[in-house]
């Protein structure tokens, strides 16, 4: 029992937040249109059919995961290319910085006109928002590989691609996972922002929708759901690292 408490004390502490929050809302009489109490949020949650929640949740999750996978699939090759060619490094990096620091909301019309109104612009936005940390982390990791390991590869006269795949990339794994952890949360934000820009469903859409009709507790219920999927996805990344790349975790 005591070890149970000790092991789960973080979870328990986190659950303690809810009654505290409720108490603050009740005692300070916080209006629910500013900061609804947990009970108001739960009520709002159950006022919406579960199947509708599920529909919104799936729409967001689908875009977030797919966009995230696209981000991985493109940014790791980009990082590899940039490490292998100084010219491309110095040409691509500024472009990536510019792309990354362009608020997607500002180029939303362009994206919609080019990509239409289907999943494509939403995937593009999710990708654009989440790829950069992956490129930076992977590049840093690939470049931080110790001289000795590079010399080992050079001494074997292996193809440069194998130096990347069998030495630099494995060495970069802790860096890459650091990037993945950031990228997965950005993928979720990206999906939500994409829904602000163009969508008919999804949690982001539902948040905006609820807010614009003053159903703030309902918006917060969507936010809570969003938090849950963020935690799930984030912990999946941690789990993948622990399962398949245990050696890359310190301590």
């Amino acid at each position: 029992m005591l070890t149970f408490i000790r092991r789960h004390s973080p979870t328990l502490s986190l659950l303690m937040i809810l009654p505290l929050w409720q108490l603050v809302c009740v005692l300070a009489d916080v209006p629910s249109y500013i900061f609804p109490s947990p009970s108001a949020i739960f009520e709002a949650f159950f006022n919406v059919e579960l199947s509708r929640w599920f529909g919104h949740l799936w729409a967001t999750l689908y875009i977030a995961i797919l966009g995230f996978i696209i981000a991985i699939g493109l940014s790791i090759p980009i990082a590899i290319i940039m490490v292998r060619s100084d010219y491309l490094n110095r040409t691509l990096y500024p472009i990536l910085v510019v792309v990354q620091s362009t608020p997607v909301v500002a180029i939303a019309p362009l994206l919609i006109v080019i990509l239409g109104t289907g999943d494509a612009p939403r995937l593009a936005i999710t990708f654009l928002i989440s790829f950069f940390p992956l490129v930076v982390a992977t590049t840093t990791g690939l470049q931080a590989t110790p001289k000795e390991l590079i010399e080992l590869s050079k001494s074997l006269r292996a193809k440069p691609s194998r130096e990347i795949w069998q030495i630099r990339l494995p060495f970069a794994v802790p860096y890459i996972f650091s990037g993945l952890k950031v990228a997965i949360t950005l993928a979720i934000i990206g999906a939500v922002i994409a829904e602000f820009v163009a969508a008919e469903k999804g949690l982001g859409y539902f948040i905006q929708f609820s807010t614009s009709y003053f159903k703030i507790p309902q918006a917060f219920a969507s936010l809570m759901l969003l938090s849950v999927i963020s935690l799930l996805l984030f912990n999946s990344i941690k789990l993948i690292q622990k399962t398949f790349f245990a050696w890359s975790i310190g301590k």
Binding site: I34, F196, A198, F214
Partner: protein
């Protein structure tokens, strides 16, 4: 002078002219008021800011206020009506293919994801005898709508009459002319943008509020009497605003302020029947029981008593 903070519901523009006129033309000064302006990001946000005391008085869509009061008794009341007709409208390329709302059936319609127009859309379509399932509705960022129409990406777009001039000039760049179909013409009878105030402000500084409404009413008169000067007044305070665009906007929305409804009573005053119609449409759109809320409770009629 008494300090009053004024909350806009959106970015500055021709449709928000009166408050700038009031400042720039010395109308507020005449009433011993020192008005400062907070820009806003939507009616809901403006109502929240008033409810929490960030600002004293401001403008917002009265249907948004009714919904807010019906769901969450917010301490905010409408005290003066500006638009006595809803600004929602269909915009189509004027190529003779779509001539009435009935022709929209089966067409591709683009709208912004979060405009209140979307709520009234089914009701408007219903007037022409069909439903949302009979059109192909796409939602996209407001900035993308004009380009979508111009590039033939969509047949119809839904926007507000306050954007009319801008949409028309954009279409002109693409060599196209637009046809505008306001929804109030097919029976969407309702009040829209109104001056609203926090109840605390009204209770604690009634005298200031009273003077403000009077000054604001004078500014409204001035605005539509002298669109150019009014547009210049905005430009003086917010140089980003184009005088020409603002002037065109002011002129183009004249009918939202001066129409049969406001002529029947007075600009600024709320007619009980039109108010009831407003709530009827809004409650129907929101799926709220019409009888669960008395639209009168969204008003405080004690501050605008008419221009002498």
């Amino acid at each position: 002078a008494d300090k009053v903070s004024f909350q806009l519901d959106w970015l500055p523009g021709g449709d928000k002219a009166p408050v700038y006129v009031g400042i720039e033309k010395g109308i507020f000064a005449k009433f011993d008021l020192d008005v400062s302006i907070n820009q806003g990001r939507g009616s809901t946000e403006a109502i929240t800011k008033l409810a929490t005391g960030v600002s004293d008085v401001g403008i917002a869509d009265i249907s948004a206020l009714m919904v807010a009061k019906a769901t969450d008794d917010v301490p905010v009341s409408a005290i003066y009506s500006i638009f006595s007709q809803a600004p929602h409208a269909f915009f189509v390329v004027d190529d003779g293919e779509i001539n009435s709302i009935a022709d929209i059936k089966g067409k591709k319609v683009a709208t912004s994801p979060f405009t209140s127009s979307n709520l009234y859309l089914p009701l408007v379509l219903e007037q022409s005898g069909y439903t949302e399932d009979d059109i192909q509705l796409v939602k996209a960022d407001p900035g993308a709508l004009g380009p979508m129409l111009a590039t033939g990406n969509t047949d119809v777009l839904i926007s507000w009459l306050t954007s009319k001039e801008r949409l028309i000039s954009q279409a002109k760049q693409a060599g196209k002319t637009l046809k505008v179909m306001p929804w109030h013409e097919v029976g969407l009878e309702q009040y829209a943008t109104s001056v609203i105030a926090s109840d605390r402000f009204l209770a604690e500084r009634p005298d200031v509020a009273k003077r403000f409404v009077e000054a604001y009413a004078q500014a409204v008169e001035y605005t539509w009497a002298y669109p150019l000067e009014s547009a210049q007044a905005i430009n003086k305070i917010v140089p980003e605003v184009d005088v020409k665009v603002a002037q065109d906007t002011i002129i183009s929305i004249h009918d939202l302020v001066y129409n049969s409804v406001s002529k029947a009573s007075e600009v600024g005053a709320f007619d009980a029947e039109h108010l009831a119609s407003t709530w009827k449409w809004t409650s129907a759109a929101q799926g709220i029981d019409e009888n669960s809320f008395d639209p009168e409770t969204a008003l405080n009629r004690g501050f605008f008593t008419g221009l002498e």
